[in-house]
């Protein structure tokens, strides 16, 4: 589980370690066992140095070794996440927090355990994707071994609960807790053909507090998530 500000997420969790020896294969036969309810089981924070699944370690850490310089030192990244309500921002965040697992599953063709997947519980992760449940910008800390990721999750734009002018303040209040920012990601539903007037308004509002250098740190995340993992 990922919750605001303090939670750390390890590539594997204690629950799966306790119930599985890591031999559970991801196959269609095992899908019944991997229900969202199960994966929603209360995650337990993992202490650094706890044993990890070997296969996961290999692929993710290989990638880390290839991309991170200064091995042995944890690389800290901070991502600002912005997007319209219902754009799949929280779902993307969920995926982002499972980067090692996703990579592992892709590499090993579902050889890993489905229980490795950490369903990051978000306030808006359940029923109505069009209504953002996030009322304030929240900083999520994800500890992924050599990588430490801080994600600033803002309330979905245009959720009707905030005025355009509120977003910049929410943003700034949240940024006060941080030292630096690596990237600003706009999560956009690829199915929408253009920015709505409201979204444009909010984006303009938020972008006014972006420094000039931030234009080199903009990332566009196009997602077309139709259902979050909890929605069945």
């Amino acid at each position: 589980m990922l919750s605001g500000d303090k939670m750390e997420l390890a590539p594997s969790d204690a629950t799966s370690t306790a119930t599985s020896d890591g031999s559970e294969m991801l196959s269609l036969e095992s899908w019944d066992m991997l229900s969202p309810d199960r994966s929603n089981a209360s995650p337990v924070e993992q202490e650094p140095g706890q044993p990890k699944v070997a296969s996961q370690q290999s692929h993710f850490e290989e990638w880390c070794a290839a991309h991170l310089q200064g091995a042995g030192e944890q690389k800290q990244l901070t991502l600002l996440l912005l997007g319209e309500a219902g754009s799949g921002k929280s779902s993307f965040l969920n995926l982002l927090g499972n980067f090692p697992t996703v990579m592992q599953h892709g590499q090993e063709a579902f050889a890993g355990k489905m229980s490795d997947f950490r369903n990051l519980e978000f306030e808006n992760g359940l029923k109505d994707q069009k209504v953002s449940q996030t009322s304030a910008a929240t900083v999520y800390h994800l500890n992924m071994g050599p990588l430490s990721l801080k994600i600033v999750d803002t309330p979905g734009f245009g959720d009707g609960r905030h005025r355009s002018s509120d977003y910049a303040k929410l943003f700034v209040d949240c940024l006060k807790k941080l030292d630096h920012v690596n990237a600003i990601a706009f999560v956009i539903s690829g199915r929408d053909s253009r920015l709505t007037a409201q979204l444009k308004d909010v984006m303009m509002e938020v972008c006014t507090i972006f420094p000039k250098a931030a234009k080199n740190n903009i990332v566009a995340i196009f997602t077309n998530t139709m259902q979050c993992i909890h929605c069945t």
Partner: protein, 392 residues
């Protein structure tokens, strides 16, 4: 998600961030776990092998795109988090300054309206003042005054009479009205008679004979105390002549008579007939023969009545009141105008200071902020400044 299926017009985003978001910064991603849920729903209904293949592919794609995102993040320059806050504060400062400038502008406009009203009232008051400024008029009138003269004479003191009854008079200067009986104005009263024939002449000369009589002269420089004796026709006793009672001591006055003005016997004898004469006696010495007022109201001094012209300022009270009210109104409005001008000057200075601060903040904002997104924000405030500059 594949870029092929992208409906979104990425230019909208590019315009927003004033930068083309490059392909390596474009992440197309689908949560494979959602697909996994779908697969579960379709388990046994469609080809499981195909589902699994696609699912593996979805995970691979997701992993690849996440890796792409992380790789991009690792290569990005680090942004200082405080810069966001600084820009936010700067923006707040701009907005706050703008509010102040607008408030000042509103105040200034209100003051300018008031100034215009006051000036208009002042001008109106000035017009009224000008129209009523001649509330005083100079009138030229005449009045009787007693003036010192080089000679003395008998004058009447009755109000509004102003008669110089006998001027100059040879009578000795006196304060006693009894003495005025000797003044020509009171001394004798004439009665006109006509000598029709020698009979009339003889009758007159029968009653009147040439006699040396004392006459007053001004030998001592108009002091009236000199006496000369002259022989003139007079009567010792009263007599009746042509229905006139002539008192003793009467004189005859005819044209071209003696030096004293009184006739002698020879004057009467030589007079061609018929001829008008005047018989003057002391019939009534109380009433002035000139003005008709009693002797006691007369005085005999070195002063005579003179009519002189004089000028007088006359105030039209109604006009003056209008003038004074307008003057006070003008002065009151003048004070207000002065106060407002001072206030406007101060307000203008404040506005200039605020405008300069605002401009500085805008320039800093332009310098440090993300241009594309800030253009409208900055332009709005620049327009405001220009608007203010044009009205100041």
């Amino acid at each position: 998600m594949h870029p092929l299926y992208l409906s979104f017009n990425i230019d909208a985003l590019n315009r927003m961030v004033e930068q083309t978001v490059k392909p390596d910064r474009q992440i197309f991603i689908e949560n494979p776990y959602v697909l996994w849920e779908r697969c579960k729903q379709n388990k046994g209904k469609v080809d499981d092998a195909a589902l699994q293949t696609e699912l593996v592919k979805a995970f691979k794609d997701a992993g690849k795109n996440l890796a792409k995102l992380f790789a991009a993040m690792l290569n990005m320059p680090i942004l200082n988090a405080t810069e966001f806050e600084q820009l936010y504060k700067l923006r707040q400062s701009i907005e706050s300054n703008t509010m102040k400038v607008l408030a000042e502008q509103k105040l200034l406009q209100e003051q300018q309206k008031q100034l215009q009203r006051r000036r208009s009232r002042m001008q109106s008051a000035q017009k009224v003042e000008d129209a009523n400024k001649n509330y005083t008029k100079t009138v030229h009138r005449k009045r009787w005054v007693l003036k010192k003269s080089e000679y003395h004479g008998t004058a009447c003191g009755v109000k509004d009479c102003h008669s110089n009854c006998h001027v100059p008079c040879k009578l000795k200067r006196t304060m006693d009205s009894e003495h005025l009986k000797m003044c020509s104005a009171f001394k004798l009263k004439s009665k006109t008679a006509t000598l029709h024939s020698e009979t009339d002449r003889k009758e007159l000369l029968h009653h009147m004979k040439d006699t040396a009589c004392p006459f007053l002269v001004d030998n001592d420089d108009l002091n009236g105390d000199g006496v000369v004796y002259q022989s003139v026709l007079t009567n010792a006793n009263a007599f009746q002549f042509q229905n006139h009672h002539v008192m003793a001591g009467a004189f005859v006055k005819i044209h071209a008579a003696s030096e004293s003005g009184w006739a002698t016997e020879s004057h009467v004898t030589d007079l061609p007939l018929p001829a008008d004469i005047r018989l003057c006696d002391k019939f009534d010495q109380d009433i002035c023969k000139v003005c008709g007022h009693h002797r006691r109201y007369h005085f005999h001094r070195n002063k005579i009545w003179c009519e002189e012209e004089y000028s007088k300022e006359v105030v039209d009270e109604e006009t003056k009141q209008k003038h004074d009210v307008a003057l006070r109104r003008k002065e009151r409005n003048k004070r207000h105008v002065k106060e407002l001008e001072n206030k406007i000057e101060l307000s203008g200075k404040r506005q200039k200071t605020l405008g300069a601060d605002l401009l500085t903040n805008i320039q800093q904002f332009e310098q440090h902020g993300l241009g594309g997104n800030n253009t409208m924000f900055v332009q709005e405030h620049r327009d405001l400044l220009q608007g203010i500059g044009s009205t100041c």
